[in-house]
Every structure is written in C-alpha cells, then in structure tokens.
C-alpha cells in the first residue's frame, strides 16, 4: 500500500464522493460555531427551508463580542447594542435548531478554540471546521482542522460536508532541543519569519522533529494556531501518548471500550515512514531565540537580539511608519503602553502559569498604562484561581478578566487607544487589529510578562 502522510490518511477517511463538477465532498466530524460568522449562515438555512444535518456535531459559544469585565450581569454587560444583538441571535439560532451552546453565563464558555479541546470535542483523526481562521489550533491533536467562510458554514450545517480539493503536504521539522525560555510561540513565529505569510499557501503543514514532540499539548495548540499565519490550510502534529492522555476522560471524549477503539485507530494515523511530502523544511532549535514582531504582518518578526531592519521595501517602510519605529532601533529599546495576555494562541493554563511565575513578587512597570490577562475559558479561569495565579497577576498590577477573544481583535471594549503600543500574546499584528491606530508586537506569554515588568522588551533567557 502506498505510504501516506497524516493528512493523506485523514483525507482518505473523510472522502465522501466527487461531485460531477470535479470537486470533492469531505465529511465534517465537528463543527464549532460562534456569534460573528454564523448569523448569515443560519439565515440562509431558514430561507432555503433547511436544517442542520447532524446537530450533535456542533458546539456553539459566544466569544468574539463578549465583555471581559461584567460576566456577573450576563447579557446586560454587553453595552454595544449591535454586539448584544449578535450574541442574542446566536442564542436564538441555537434554540431554534437544537444546537448545544455554552452561553455567556455558562462556566464552560470561552474562546471556541480553547473549549473544543478542553471538552474533548477535539479528537485525533477528526475533521473539524469553524468559521474562524484559527481553527488550525485543533490540528495539535492530529486532526484536520480548517477555518472556513460563512457560506461554507451554511454548507456544512446543511450537508455535513465541505466542498474542497486536496491540498499539498508540507513537513516542517524542528530538530534538536529548544533553549529554556523559548516556547511554542517562538517556534511558530520563527517559522513564519522564515517561510513568510504565504509560505504555506495551498498546503497542509505537518510539524515534526524532536522539539515538536517535546511540546505539551498546549504548546502544540499554540504552534498549530498560527499555521494560518503561514498561509496554510491547516497545521497538524501527529498524535502520540501525550495526545491520548490529554483527551482521556474529558466530558465529550469517548469512554471505556469506545476510547480504546479510538486509541487503536489514532495510533495508525502518524505519517508512514517514507511518505511523500511536496515540500520539506528543516530548522534547528538552536537558531530559535525569543521572537518579537516589529511590523504589521506576522512575517515581520525578529528575535529579541535583533534591531529593526533597514529596508527599501515599500511594504516594510509603510509598516514601520504605522508602527512608529525607526530602522536600526533595538527591539530591547521598544517601550510599551499595554500588555495583553490572552487569545486562542496563548490563554491556556500553561500560558498563565508561565506568565505568573515571572510576575510572582514583582510589580509591573510604571510605564505600563494597562496590563490585562484574559483566560481562554471559564474552566481555565477557575483552574488558575484554584492555583492562586489570579492573585499573582492582580498583585503584580494586571487586571484579571473573564474569558473571550478580547483584545486579540478588539470587537469588545478591550482595545488599544490610538498610537498605543502593546506586547500581545495574540496572533496578528495587523493595522488596527487591537484598536484603531493601535500598535501590536506579538510575543510569547513569558516575554509579555517580562515586558510588563520592564516596560520594554527584554530577553527571557537573561532571567
């Protein structure tokens, strides 16, 4: 039998048929839904007198628009009437069609890409879609997880299938052991710096190598989360014992014999020895230092030891102009106004533990106007509080918030003011992303925590 990659195997097992126009129908195992990209899809179903085909495949939650300061008063906490309408519309759609929703007042509510894995809805070998580009996160479990548009959301609701064509296989190996202080976030940003934001276009990336195998499940989620920032359709890590242990006993995960059956299947998923990849990159762990973005695209990134580049590239000049930075400036000399720890990239318990370890018995710099930490879900928040992490954050000068996407994209009131500069653990440094004319530098949670103490970027390895 032909040797196959992890992606080939999942593709083969989800292939339904080829339509007579030449496109393939791929079966969708899980569909995650949030309030922003779903209203028009549900409306489309109603107009065509259709219903979701398999409601048990769907989990919905509001995350993009939700406030992070007033969960105690539920919907009344959403001051913007347009945001509120969108959250209520999700409620109504879920009620009408019988879809499970973790509502705003549910202790399990959170960022859709945090709660899927947390609940055991994300399993190896599955196809997972969501109307959100960071669906790639779930690839950490060895699933094929893709962000889709609203028309596709509607199509998946109605047919449980995605119209698609097979992508190419890309393998990115990170060989060797990464240095202390260097994290999954640095690895994923480093890769984007090397291959560019279109480097993965048309491909599904499988991440491999010693450094990837050594990552925790949280780390692998951070890694795959930003596969979309490398332009890839999806990012994946082959499932292993770490994956099975993480999944076991989670609320929606299979139990008992069913779990054993699943594990047996999951063990067959890793790419076969000698399977063909269309493109392969090999990077050395020792070349990966703590990363900081300096521009307005995730590929505009360097290490903490770098300076802002001199370039005649029009795109770089325009980015530096927006960022208010001069070529030749050391990354370590960039002074900050705000700190954001959160987002589907870095808001899991491990991220909060790492950041709080650095903040313990310390205070944030007087320079910092605001530092917020937004746990990825209600359960992450609860766990962090049980470990006393909330007190460490608060004592250091951080605001301890309720779960949601928050200042990753600022659809809720958490935004930068004009020209403010932020060290952010999120995934996109696009113009205006965190607030109109706001300036974003992407970093790991450890680097963000350290920057909050210094008021500027410093090298976590010096700590």
């Amino acid at each position: 039998m032909a040797k196959r990659t992890l992606y080939d195997k999942i593709w083969d097992d989800h292939y339904v048929t080829t339509r007579d126009d030449g496109s393939d129908l791929m079966y969708v195992d899980r569909h995650l839904v949030h309030e922003v990209t779903s209203p028009q899809a549900f409306e489309g179903l109603r107009q065509n007198n259709l219903k979701p085909r398999r409601v048990s495949s769907i989990l919905a939650t509001p995350d993009h628009n939700v406030p992070t300061t007033s969960r105690d008063i539920n919907l009344d906490g959403i001051k913007d009437p347009i945001s509120k309408l969108q959250v209520i519309t999700l409620d109504e759609n879920c009620n009408e069609f019988g879809i499970t929703q973790f509502k705003l007042d549910d202790s399990r509510q959170g960022i859709v890409h945090v709660i899927g894995p947390e609940q055991g809805l994300t399993l190896p070998g599955m196809t997972i879609v969501c109307g959100d580009s960071h669906t790639s996160t779930h690839g950490a479990f060895g699933s094929l997880a893709m962000g889709i548009g609203t028309s596709e959301v509607e199509h998946v609701l109605a047919t449980q299938c995605l119209v698609t064509k097979k992508q190419k296989n890309m393998l990115i190996n990170i060989n060797g052991v990464i240095e202390d202080g260097v994290t999954a976030k640095d690895i994923t940003m480093f890769i984007i710096g090397k291959i560019g934001t279109a480097g993965g276009t048309g491909h599904v990336i499988e991440y491999g190598g010693e450094a990837i195998r050594a990552l925790s499940m949280e780390g692998r989620m951070t890694l795959c989360n930003m596969a979309i920032e490398a332009g890839a359709r999806a990012g994946m890590v082959a499932p292993d014992e770490k994956t099975f242990a993480y999944v076991k006993d989670r609320p929606f995960a299979p139990k008992g014999e069913l779990f054993e059956d699943a594990v047996e299947y999951w063990k067959s998923l890793p790419s076969d020895e000698g399977a063909k990849f269309d493109e392969i990159f090999n990077f050395r762990s020792e070349d990966i230092l703590p990363q900081v973005t300096w521009g307005t695209s995730p590929e505009m990134v360097g290490s903490i030891e770098d300076t802002i580049p001199h370039s005649s590239d029009k795109n770089i000049i325009s980015a530096l102009n927006y960022m208010g930075l001069k070529p030749g400036t050391m990354i370590k000399d960039i002074e900050l106004d705000q700190i954001f720890i959160g987002s589907c990239t870095n808001s899991r318990i491990e991220d909060l533990r790492v950041a709080s370890e650095i903040l313990k018995n310390n205070k944030i710099s007087k320079r910092i106007k605001r530092a917020i930490v937004v746990p990825g879900s209600g359960l992450v928040k609860k766990q962090a509080e049980a470990e006393g992490l909330d007190e460490i954050f608060i004592e250091a000068g951080f605001e301890w918030r309720d779960p949601g996407c928050s200042m990753c994209l600022g659809m809720n009131p958490d935004q930068l003011n004009e020209l403010e500069r932020c060290a952010s653990t999120s995934n996109r440094n696009f113009e205006g992303r965190q607030g109109y004319k706001g300036r974003t530098h992407l970093v790991s949670p450890a680097m963000a925590a350290l920057a909050s103490l210094e008021g500027r970027f410093s090298d976590i390895r010096d700590l």
Binding site: N48, R54, S151, A158
Partner: protein, 214 residues
C-alpha cells in the same frame, strides 16, 4: 448564487501593497452586522477615511483620505481590483468579500490570494484570478494616476487580456467555473449527493462510532 457572464470587461483599480489582510478590507467593528449587505461604504475603512467608522455611520459625510487609490475619482467606476501577493490573507471573515461586492468589485486579480478569502470570493460570485508577476507588473505600470485600464475576461476559455498590453490564460478549478457560469446553488448541488453522504455516515457509525456523540 448570482450567475456571471462568460465574457465581460471591467475597469481596473490597482492597490500597490502585498499581504493585504482581511482586517484592512473590512475592520472588526463591521463584523457585528448580522447581514451580508450594506458593507460597501466601509470597505478599506481605515485606509479610506480620515476618521474611524462604525456600523450605521453615514460614510457620505466623512472626510476621505486623498492618498488612497479608491478615493481617486478617476477610478470611481472601477470594478476590477488589482492587487499584489497574498491578497486577503488572515481572518476568515466573509464580510471582506461582502464589502467588496457591495462596493461594486466583480473581479480581483492578484499575484496570489489568502486561501479562505479565495474560497469566499467564488461563493459570492466574485471571480478571483491569479496571474503571472510579469503581466501583473504590466498592469501596474500601465495604469496611470488618472486612467484605469480596461481588462477583459473570457471565463469559458479562461483568458484575461487587455487589447494592447497582454493576454494570459488563467487557471480556475472546473467546479468553481461551473458554479460561476451556471450560478449554481452550492448547497442544492451537494444535496444531490444525499445518498452518498448517508452511506458515508452509516459506515462511520460502524467503523469509528466514537466520532458520533449523539
């Protein structure tokens, strides 16, 4: 989906920037809309206006930025947007395509596209064409500050050309082409395969029952 003509011509507007992300095409505050329409006035909001926009704002009264190409009156009739590499990267927001469509863009030509954005274009009847760098450079260098280029597309024969400047055959997946030309209802089309989908589900329940949690 709206049918598009097999052959049509359009006037260009060139956006000379690589990696234009969907956050720029339609900023986050407009994603709060629960409709697909009315986003045209907010297309490229932060690049187009001096102030920050919000849903419901009357854009006709806002001050335009002089240096943004879409504000140049010479291109007021443009319906072919020409861009550089990786146009529409980033967020999956289909609102970006809805905004372009509402604004009047029917075709987008670029060196390459963000994957999800590219899919979203076709779902809304916008033709996205990837062309060679050579011909893209020809378009960019021939569109002056004051005059658009008239570009023609022959979808059936997959040709894009300007009478004087260039002609190129472009690639398009057969299913996308069929959908555009016939204006197919994508969901209705897939539902013709209901039997295949049901058969798949039966097999799934037998072979990997742990996937189904009902």
């Amino acid at each position: 989906m709206a049918k598009i003509s097999n052959k049509f011509s359009g006037k260009t507007v060139c956006l000379n920037k690589a990696n234009v992300d969907t956050d720029q095409i339609i900023p986050k505050q407009f994603l709060k809309s629960i409709k697909k329409t009315g986003l045209g006035p907010f297309l490229f909001d932060s690049w187009r206006y001096e102030d920050e926009g919000y849903l419901g704002k009357d854009s006709s009264k806002r001050t335009l930025k002089n240096d943004f190409v879409l504000n140049n009156k010479a291109f007021s009739e443009a319906n072919v947007l020409v861009a550089k590499e990786n146009f529409g990267c980033g967020s999956s927001r289909e609102h970006a395509v809805w905004a372009l469509k509402d604004f009047g863009i029917t075709t987008i030509i670029a060196a390459s596209f963000g994957d999800i954005f590219f899919n979203n274009c076709f779902k809304n009847g916008i033709l996205a064409i990837q062309i060679s760098k050579k011909n893209l450079d020809i378009i960019f260098s021939n569109q002056s500050e004051i005059k658009p280029i008239e570009i023609s597309v022959d979808l059936v024969n997959q040709k894009i050309f300007d009478e004087k400047l260039f002609e190129e055959n472009f690639e398009i997946e057969s299913y996308r082409k069929k959908c555009l030309i016939e204006g197919l209802d994508e969901i209705g089309y897939s539902l013709k395969y209901e039997k295949e989908i049901s058969n798949y589900e039966q097999k799934l329940r037998k072979e990997r029952s742990w996937v189904i949690n009902d």
